[in-house]
């Protein structure tokens, strides 16, 4: 299943990329499992997506919880808690 990933702010800097197109294995069906999948890459990925890190997610530009389902073609964004205003 192909999805588009986006990373913002401190995540983008730590990972050294603003995003990528990714073909996910069929076992990855939720935002939480995408996060796990990325963490398993090791290095900066393991650090950024460590369970203790407070990472927020959005699917197709809507904030979601970790249990949210994903589907082919989704834009999935990961970012730290927001600090605007």
């Amino acid at each position: 299943m192909k999805v588009r990933l986006l990373f913002f702010a401190s995540l983008r800097e730590s990972l050294g990329t603003a995003g990528e197109e990714l073909d996910l294995p069929p076992t990855v069906t939720t935002v939480g499992s995408v996060r796990e999948h990325l963490r398993s890459r090791g290095g900066a990925w393991a650090d950024v997506f460590a369970p203790a890190r407070n990472v927020r997610a959005a699917i197709n530009q809507e904030m979601v919880q970790v249990g949210a389902s994903i589907k082919a073609g989704d834009e999935i964004a990961f970012f730290p808690p927001v600090t605007g205003g």
Binding site: L6, F8, A9, S10, N54, A58, Q61, E62, M63, A77, F79, P80, P81, V82, T83, G84, G85
Partner: protein, 142 residues
């Protein structure tokens, strides 16, 4: 209703005038947030930023009498004392204008995808989210 995410500065007088045209409008409440102390760079998530602010404005309009509303949020490089955000709400009466303005600001702080990076002499660092902002947004649920 106007939502703008922009690099450029804004003018309070112009914006207030633009939402005060109806003869039914009896009150306009506005809030401006400024950069404190240090230079900063604001990053955002184009597309989601605008839609999340529109959703917050719609929710405010469902709760209070909102005759018109403007939200402007800047991004990019900002200096101390620069305006960052403007929320202006026009209503029939002041109670609704004050409440809707504060509600929009509280929700914007926790829902709109902006991130501040501060530039100190020792280097740059991302601003950490504050629990008090979550609490400010949460109290509107009660």
């Amino acid at each position: 209703m106007k939502v703008s995410v922009q690099r450029e500065d804004f003018d309070l007088g112009t914006e207030v005038k633009a939402i005060s045209r109806s003869t039914k409008t009896g009150a306009v409440a506005s809030f401006i947030g400024l950069v404190r102390d240090v230079r900063m760079t604001l990053e955002h998530y184009p597309g989601m930023t605008e839609s999340s602010i529109r959703k917050i404005v719609d929710e405010a309009a469902g709760r209070w009498n909102v005759m018109d509303c403007t939200v402007i949020h800047r991004y990019g490089d900002l200096e101390p004392n620069d305006p960052i955000v403007l929320v202006a709400v026009a209503s029939a009466h002041r109670g609704d204008a004050f409440a809707a303005c504060e509600f929009i600001m509280d929700y914007l702080k926790t829902q709109a995808p902006f991130w501040k990076k501060e530039h100190h002499a020792a280097g740059a660092s991302w601003v950490e989210a504050r629990g008090s902002d979550d609490e400010a947004a949460e109290r509107w649920r009660k």
